[in-house]
Symmetry: C2
Subunit: 275 residues, 2 copies
């Protein structure tokens, strides 16, 4: 991993010890797929970052400057992941945001994560997502719920056998997402994805698929999901991931998912699979 740290438009050695990202998770992040020296979905990620910044009233660094630095960080990267964290910067102690602090931000390039089998095995996580409309949809840095959920696999006391991803319910029992992916299900012949107005993240890949499929955003119960005709996960790093198994439930590959993957690969060649 190589990382560069900035405050406003100034490159700095390191994040300040009183950075609010560190103290309170007071920041936002984006994780972008890199392909042939570029981040093809940059615009959509930046747009989501802007929506998050507006919600948190968090000043962003200059868009063109960040873009130029991102391009520089991706030089020579054929396939990988670019991560951008933006925090409210360093500003002493206490919750009150300083109006004057410049945002701190980190750009880092990472290798692609290890491939997953085609046809994921999922588990249900015990950790629930809390209902918080003020933070729903945006990709903020308060992610302990996801950390706890993802840690359930490493726990020998937990019920699950090996799984590729875990699904999360909110505290009212509706299905929301996987720990680091969104999800779509074919229910009664129509594609649906959970609403993200109370928790969850407005994924960039999710938005592409929503538009392509003309899918519904709806509340989805655990039972509806388990009885769906097909299920897949998606995120902006891995694209579309068909699901083969969830507990006792198994799904055969579905032609609509294969067709969707083909359309995504045509629109965004970084997601072309070679199988």
């Amino acid at each position: 991993m190589s990382a560069r740290v900035f405050v406003g438009q100034h490159r700095v050695e390191a994040i300040a010890t009183d950075d609010r990202g560190l103290a309170y998770g007071d920041g936002l992040f984006e994780t972008l797929r890199a392909h042939r020296g570029r981040a093809p979905w940059w615009e959509a990620h930046w747009a989501r970052l802007e929506r998050g910044a507006q919600r948190l009233r968090l000043p962003l660094p200059d868009r063109d400057f960040v873009r130029a630095q991102a391009d520089a960080a991706l030089q020579g990267v054929d396939a990988g992941v670019l991560k951008l964290i933006v925090t409210r910067g360093g500003a002493g102690r206490g919750y009150a945001p300083a109006e004057t602090a410049e945002p701190a931000w980190i750009l880092s390039a990472h290798p692609l994560p290890p491939g997953l089998r085609d046809g994921l095995t999922l588990r249900w996580c015990d950790t629930r997502l809390s209902i918080q409309p003020a933070l729903a949809g945006i990709k903020h840095c308060n992610r302990l719920e996801q950390v706890l959920a993802r840690a359930e696999w490493n726990d020998p006391a937990a019920s699950g056998r090996e799984a590729d991803e875990g699904l999360m319910l909110d505290t009212e029992g509706d299905v929301v997402c996987a720990t680091s992916a969104n999800l779509f299900a074919l229910v009664g012949g129509r594609w649906a994805t959970p609403r993200i107005d109370r928790c969850g993240v407005a994924g960039v890949c999710r938005a592409w698929i929503l538009a392509d499929l003309g899918a519904d955003e709806s509340r989805l119960s655990r039972m509806q999901l388990e009885s769906a005709e097909a299920v897949f996960l998606c995120n902006a790093v891995r694209g579309i991931l068909p699901v083969a198994r969830l507990g006792e439930r198994a799904w055969a590959p579905h032609p609509q998912v294969s067709a969707l993957r083909g359309r995504l690969a045509a629109a965004a060649p970084m997601f072309a699979t070679h199988d």
Copy 2:
């Protein structure tokens, strides 16, 4: 502010760019009152840190080593605040906690915050606290709700006139705490403080007062609070803060609160007020 950064037992220059505290708020913190070169409530703060670490399965640095560093940081500090942040350290990208990462931690000494008038003016915050039993009670670093609540004062569009602190309800409408303090209310002749099993923080000063008053931990409605005979806030930096006003409601100084303050000052002279 002076700050020292460590990874395990090694002093380092700065927090790593891939630190999980920064990425996900994957950490815990303590804010201790310093008095005459010591942190008199160190043991209680460390015990809460241990409870948080157990909940998050986050490895802590060596207790004696941290204590020695804290003592060093407080040399010559007559009155101030010591802040300790412990994160799960640096471990690449992704929610799965690495089993091997050593914790990163920051010790920083700060001046005492500016004094508040004796007899606080409070406001109601619009930002609610979400219901999340998995994180309730511990002092973790996912604090965007508090940041948003505290930012309401700076917003000229918000309703409130000037206030010293803001009270927060949970998403089900029960009173929980102020943005950076707990609260007690005298209701029907008995002292009560909100339960912290669904959100909120198990404050060190709150625990002292709970024991001293033999108070109840209960669900407290907004109406119950507004009709209470007396209300005060508390935290481990400021001690006990009597409340004089909340919206239209005003309270006269209450002898039981004065007596409690006297007992706290006797037990912990750092909280002696000179008025």
